[in-house]
């Protein structure tokens, strides 16, 4: 009995070591294969924007993806402020759109999950993408975090939580962080009503140059032959 248990433990350790020792290109190929099961999807959810100068209500959003790299994020109603790099929330596009040289950057720990770190350098010199760093859960073949640096829109960071759709590699929650520039209107331009609330010291401490968008997705419709109309 003890002998059997020891063998099982050794086997598990060996398997675990093998996972963390496997070639990063193989790992990425496995993730790509997993994602390639998705031809298209439509997802519904809510988008919460946290930017110091923007006071926006929670927006109902829809995400559309179609192979190889068509992606659209739309709000169901009202005016929407969509972050410029929002297209990066879709990992499928990242793999299908670019050819990379992959560098193995070792391992890391995110929320008590041991992850492999892969740095993706695009082969095309004219690509808007400069560098993408993926933090991969090698056991479940899921991308937990992604840091992307682009030429035009700066650096973005994505944190993804998986639940119901993890078998497809589709997250239930995406936290998208990005840099914003300070917004300043000239005083006197807007003839504002001074209600004295600006004297509150909180308004000063809130200042930050980082914006955050949290997208919570409740429902995915996968491989339903999505029309091209949605991407216009």
């Amino acid at each position: 009995m003890i002998k059997n248990s020891t063998s099982l433990l050794l086997l598990l350790l060996l398997f675990n070591q093998q996972i963390f020792a496997q070639d990063i290109n193989v790992l990425l190929a496995n993730i790509k294969t997993k994602m390639s099961k998705i031809k298209d999807y439509e997802a519904e959810g809510q988008m919460k924007t946290k930017v110091v100068f923007l006071k926006l209500p929670v927006a109902a959003v829809k995400l559309y993806f179609k192979n190889p790299s068509k992606f659209k994020l739309k709000t169901s109603k009202g005016i929407s402020f969509i972050p410029k790099g929002a297209v990066n929330v879709n990992m499928n596009s990242l793999f299908n759109e670019h050819n990379f040289t992959v560098i193995d950057a070792g391992t890391d720990n995110i929320n008590n999950v041991k992850v492999r770190v892969a740095k993706l350098l695009p082969n095309d010199d004219n690509s808007n993408l400069v560098l993408s760093t993926l933090y991969i859960d090698p056991v479940n073949l899921l991308i937990i975090k992604n840091k992307t640096t682009t030429k035009e829109n700066g650096t973005y960071e994505l944190m993804m939580n998986y639940n119901k759709y993890s078998s497809y590699g589709l997250p239930d929650e995406i936290l998208f962080s990005f840099n914003t520039k300070d917004y300043k209107l000239p005083k006197g331009l807007t003839f504002d009503f001074d209600d004295q609330s600006a004297k509150n010291p909180l308004s000063k401490t809130n200042k930050a140059s980082k914006g955050e968008v949290k997208i919570t997705l409740n429902k995915y419709s996968i491989n339903k032959n999505l029309s091209d109309e949605f991407f216009k």
Binding site: L54, K55, I79, F81, I82, Y183, L185, T190, D192, F193
Partner: protein, 297 residues
Amino acid sequence: MFSLLQIELFKISRRPRTYIAFAAITAIVLIFQFAFKADGESYMNLMLQNVQDSFDLDKSKAINGYFMCYIILNTLLVQVPILVSLIAGDAISGEANMGTLRLMLTKPYNRSQLLFVKFLAAFLFTIFLLVWIAILSLFVSLLIFGADDMLIFRVKGDESQILQISKDDVLWRYFAAFGYAAVALTVIATLGILLSVFAENSIGPIVATVCIVLFFTIVSNINVPIIDKHVKPWLFTTYMVGWKGFFYIGIDNEGQPIKGSLENWPAIRNSLVILIAHIATFLGIAFYSFQKKDILS
């Protein structure tokens, strides 16, 4: 007294200058609507500035009827008080100038009743003017530009903010704002009547009211700390923009607007009380002075 009010309203309706006010408002609003229909995006680019570097926004949706009304009301901040003073500044001095004041006071009405009716007529003119502004700037704008969420661009202390109010949370704010504007413009009407009591011709009180409003409005919008602290609280024009407080939506701890809320209702209420106090003071002085006024010379 109702018949006296009818006579006053009839007199106002017969004066060409009454219609100048309505024509001026119509022209200003229509020009604004045309300009924004033709090239509203330029204005939006100015207000959004570098926000566009980080976010994509459908600007055509942002320029909607609700947004247009807010922009127009902001612009009419100086013009409408001038138009109100055209009528109010003439209330007593116009009668004195034409020599009809003595004649009117031979009727079985006392001086207080006459002044009260003059005030009521000026107040009703202000309400008609506001209703006309509401029809043109809000309802016609909604017809031309449609309805959608409303964006408010605001400077709060050292910070600039963009507030978004949901489409179904806007209309009640306009009704409240127009109600507030009625009180604010009544201050101008009573100031005009007060100055009118002391004059023997219409030009003096009208020009004086306009000058006071212009000077106070300019000072109210100068951003110098010493003026902010020691001068602005004493100017009634500081509180006239309080209608905007209805569009400063309350924000929760996460930075999201709370539907149906106001950021600072006590500030709006206090401003409203101060404006009503001005009306009472101006009217009180006008009643007192009119009782003492020599109408025989």
